[in-house]
Symmetry: C2
Subunit: 154 residues, 2 copies
């Protein structure tokens, strides 16, 4: 049974979750499968690129962030999926050995008028590098079951 419902996300709340050390092997494995551009596969090509060294695919960063979201709170929550991502910004490359963490800000919480059993939460998720700089941020809407469903409005 979920522990966390829509009502538990409070606008303005900021929390930090988890950590993950990104390895050279996993950068290359992900890129080989999904994003085989040279700067994600080969240290020399990474060094010659704007990324300054072998760097994780931006989609790998998204996948790592999603795993931190799952382990941090989503797997204990009554999550119902997401309609989409409002914005993703890749600000700094992630290199082998970087230990990344997740910062979650609750930007907005609203109930669904048409489906009173559902609430929607807009999050800003930031993937933080070891020195606290932001490697990537994302604004995402996630749907959750309500602990106390609202009334269906006319």
């Amino acid at each position: 049974m979920p522990e966390i419902y829509w009502e538990d996300f409070v606008e303005g709340d900021v929390k930090t979750f988890g950590s993950h050390e990104v390895t050279e092997a996993e950068i290359i494995d992900f890129a080989t499968a999904f994003d085989p551009q040279p700067m994600h596969l080969d240290p020399a090509a990474g060094k010659a690129s704007l990324l300054g060294g072998l760097a994780a695919s931006g989609w790998h960063s998204c996948a790592i962030m999603m795993r931190l979201i799952c382990d941090g709170f989503l797997l204990r929550a009554a999550g119902m999926g997401s309609p989409g991502v409002q914005e993703t910004v890749w600000r700094e490359p992630i290199h082998p050995g970087d230990v990344v963490t997740l910062r979650r800000k609750v930007l907005e919480s609203r109930s669904s008028k048409s489906r009173p059993e559902i609430g929607l939460v807009t999050f800003r998720f930031e993937l933080l590098k070891p020195k606290g700089t932001v490697a990537m941020d994302q604004t995402v809407v996630i749907m959750f079951s309500r602990r106390n469903p609202g009334a269906r409005l006319a």
Copy 2:
């Protein structure tokens, strides 16, 4: 040597690229690593969810789309990476056996004022399901080298 430079992307151009059959095994493998929510791991949980059956993680859809982008044109192009994604919308779930293709629309092309050797292209990428419906769409900016660098403007 790249075949495709910034100048080769013409605003308004629409093309379709590649195809990939999404298997149950790869849906579960990706979800196990990065997005272990029940609807991405277990057919029964998928059926009970809003997705109507075992369905690929939205991040898996992004990764599959990136691979189609790479194989379709990006690996032959003078690509320099991307600052980010303006919007990602997950419109329909992707289920095992779905064969997906990529549709690329060139929305906007502009040169960089500060870096005359670079141009930026804004694409709308759509991941199409077998019947031509859109499972996911994305608006993404990608940087490319220019074949004919422009003048640095004051």
